[in-house]
């Protein structure tokens, strides 16, 4: 019995197809750079077998503005506006982290009132940023913008407070080396009081709407799971790390700006899935409100900016300061050569590093799961690309 050549060739092909996989062609789908779900110009190249993700590869750099290079030619104070534009959804936290690093280099003592104001705005920023993160996360789960718009309402109020304090809503440029740029305006504290009075009811509304939603549970529970060991090894931080159950919060571990004097708690999750990240953020908003309450109650008087010479040149050396930004551990590493500008300016971007485990989280899930996972990590592309 001899086969025809056709048959032999076909059989060869079949054997290859059978041994290499199931013989169907994987489809490569680009999510982004222009895509409704990617929160900015971020491109995720997903290889799909049917609906199952086989490989996920991120392509970034569409928003790279070379800030680290630019900062080498600006004075320490001139660099503060750059930090706004690194993470434009948490400009205050970025301002703060950079100023802490510069203050460490310059050896500046920050007055207590300035520290309290910094804490106030960092926590307000956390409320605003988490509102945005959770809102867009539910949107990624397929809701039709309703929770997003509700949470935007809270964010608007925070941004209004930013505007009345420093004139800007998004890129605030509010913190200065040695303090903050302006003292609090008279109308801020009443507005903040009203905000603190209204928020518990709003949060209760969100919880009533979302927490027991069966569809949300089905979409987010058990999706994008990562173990605490893997999370630590992948340098994940912020709510993504805390959702795995690791109670690591720089505000508690290495308090800065007087966080040690406020009473608050660190919420941690259990499963490390998307839903836990969402819950951790919800709980963190409540803790932020607790801190804000205490800040308002114990706001000290005094100068809001340390007395610092205009042309301050730090000694040659280096500093690495970190804060707990809404997205995680945000660090600034500065090297000084004694000149007016930093010799090296490096930002440890939590958004980028939290993506380290994106591939591991998405493989094996469906395309929809990958998008929910990406949404739950809460990236800001400005910070990824810098």
């Amino acid at each position: 019995m001899t086969m025809s050549d056709d048959t032999r060739l076909a059989m060869q092909g079949t054997i290859e197809a059978l041994t290499s996989g199931d013989g169907s062609e994987p489809v490569v789908v680009n999510l982004g750079p222009q895509h409704p779900s990617t929160h900015g110009v971020f491109r995720l190249k997903v290889t799909l077998d049917g609906e199952i993700v086989q490989d996920a590869e991120m392509r970034i750099g569409y928003l790279h503005r070379s800030m680290e290079k630019l900062a080498e030619e600006r004075t320490y104070t001139q660099n503060i506006p750059f930090t706004d534009r690194i993470d434009y959804l948490a400009a205050m936290s970025n301002n703060l982290a950079y100023c802490l690093a510069a203050e460490e280099l310059l050896g500046v003592e920050v007055p207590p009132r300035a520290n309290a104001i910094r804490v106030m705005f960092a926590e307000l920023q956390r409320v605003a940023s988490h509102a945005m993160a959770n809102g867009t996360f539910i949107n990624d789960c397929g809701a039709w913008h309703t929770p997003l718009f509700h949470m935007f309402r809270d964010r608007e109020r925070v941004l209004d407070m930013f505007e009345m304090t420093c004139g800007a809503r998004l890129t605030t440029n509010y913190m200065r080396i040695g303090g903050v740029a302006f003292d609090l305006p008279d109308e801020l504290l009443p507005t903040l009081e009203q905000f603190l009075a209204d928020m518990p009811e709003n949060i209760a509304n969100y919880e009533a709407l979302l927490l027991e939603n069966e569809i949300l549970h089905a979409r987010a529970r058990g999706v994008g799971v990562i173990s605490p060991e893997m999370a630590i090894n992948s340098s994940l931080s912020g709510p993504v790390l805390r959702a795995t159950g690791v109670p690591w919060d720089l505000r508690k571990a290495n308090p800065y700006c007087g966080y040690e004097s406020y009473e608050f708690d660190v919420p941690v999750g259990e499963q490390g899935d998307c839903f836990d990240r969402f819950l951790v953020r919800m709980a963190e908003v409540k803790e932020s409100l607790r801190i804000l309450r205490q800040v308002v109650d114990t706001l000290p008087d005094g100068p809001y900016l340390a007395d610092l010479p205009l042309h301050a040149r730090p000694e040659p050396g280096e500093s690495y300061a970190r804060v707990e930004s809404p997205r995680g551990e945000l660090g600034f590493y500065l090297v000084s050569d004694g000149g007016p500008a930093p010799y090296r300016f490096h930002c440890r971007p939590p958004s980028l590093i939290n993506l380290s485990a994106l591939k591991e989280m998405s493989i094996g899930g469906t395309l929809a799961d990958a998008i929910v996972t990406l949404g739950s990590i809460d990236i800001v592309v400005g910070e990824i690309d810098r």
Binding site: I60, G61, H64, S66, E68, K69, E72, E73, R74, T75, E104, M230, I232, N233, S234, S235, L236, V246, W248, A253, N254, P255, Y256, L310, H311, P316, E318, Y320, A321, R322, E329, G331, Y333, V335, D337, G338, G339, P340, A341, Y343, R344, H346, R348, L352, I353, L355, S356, A357, D385
Partner: protein, 199 residues
């Protein structure tokens, strides 16, 4: 603020597993590039250091050499260690990759490769990240787009501050002494000594 881990203690841990792989100068731990992976793995796994979290990984161009800076954090013991390693080959700088020790080094090493051109041997997916393939040069190097006539990157002085408005001397950043295991740069030792004298 951050609690720093004692560099000498870290040196002992490293040297216990690989003798002579680490030294401390001015309170900073310097690691031998050849045994970098083993040293950092020892620091990660040792009970007393427990540096399980790679907080930050970046490079600094010191014009004569590159300095890799690692910030390692222990979560349970709550201390931070700064470790450094130096690369003297400017033409083809290379260092072992930490991806086998920390999964989180993956993206940060790609970033350093992209912007500094430091190759990480053993990195599974070393490609440019922010810039496109074929981008000329490595932007965060100090000699990127260097003009003729010693015009260079950096800010010479504050605006409107005339008296000290001069370009910093190349190498004015204090240079650390070489580790005995480091490859000795040829012909550039004199510059290192000179700058040390200046500081």
């Amino acid at each position: 603020m951050t609690i720093q881990y004692d560099a000498t203690a870290a040196m002992e841990i490293v040297n216990a597993s690989a003798p002579g792989a680490a030294c401390v100068y001015d309170g900073v731990l310097f690691l031998d590039p050849d045994t970098l992976v083993e040293s950092i793995r020892a620091l990660r796994d040792a009970e007393q250091s427990d540096l399980v979290f790679l907080s930050n990984l970046t490079a600094v161009d010191h014009e004569l050499h590159f300095e890799m800076v690692y910030h390692l954090q222990s979560l349970d013991l709550n201390h931070l260690l700064q470790a450094k390693a130096r690369i003297f080959d400017r033409e083809d700088p290379a260092l072992p990759s930490l991806t086998g020790v920390y999964h989180g080094a993956h993206l940060q090493e790609r970033e350093v490769y992209d912007l500094f051109g430091i190759r990480f041997e053993g990195h599974p997916d070393l490609r440019r990240m922010f810039l496109w393939d074929g981008f000329p040069g490595y932007p965060l190097r100090k000699d990127f787009l260097q003009m003729p006539g010693q015009v260079r990157a950096g800010l010479p002085g504050f605006p409107h501050e005339s008296e000290e408005n001069s370009w910093p001397v190349p190498g004015s950043v204090p240079q650390r002494p070489l580790h005995p295991n480091d490859p000795q740069p040829e012909g550039e030792v004199a510059v290192v000594d000179e700058s040390e004298d200046a500081s």
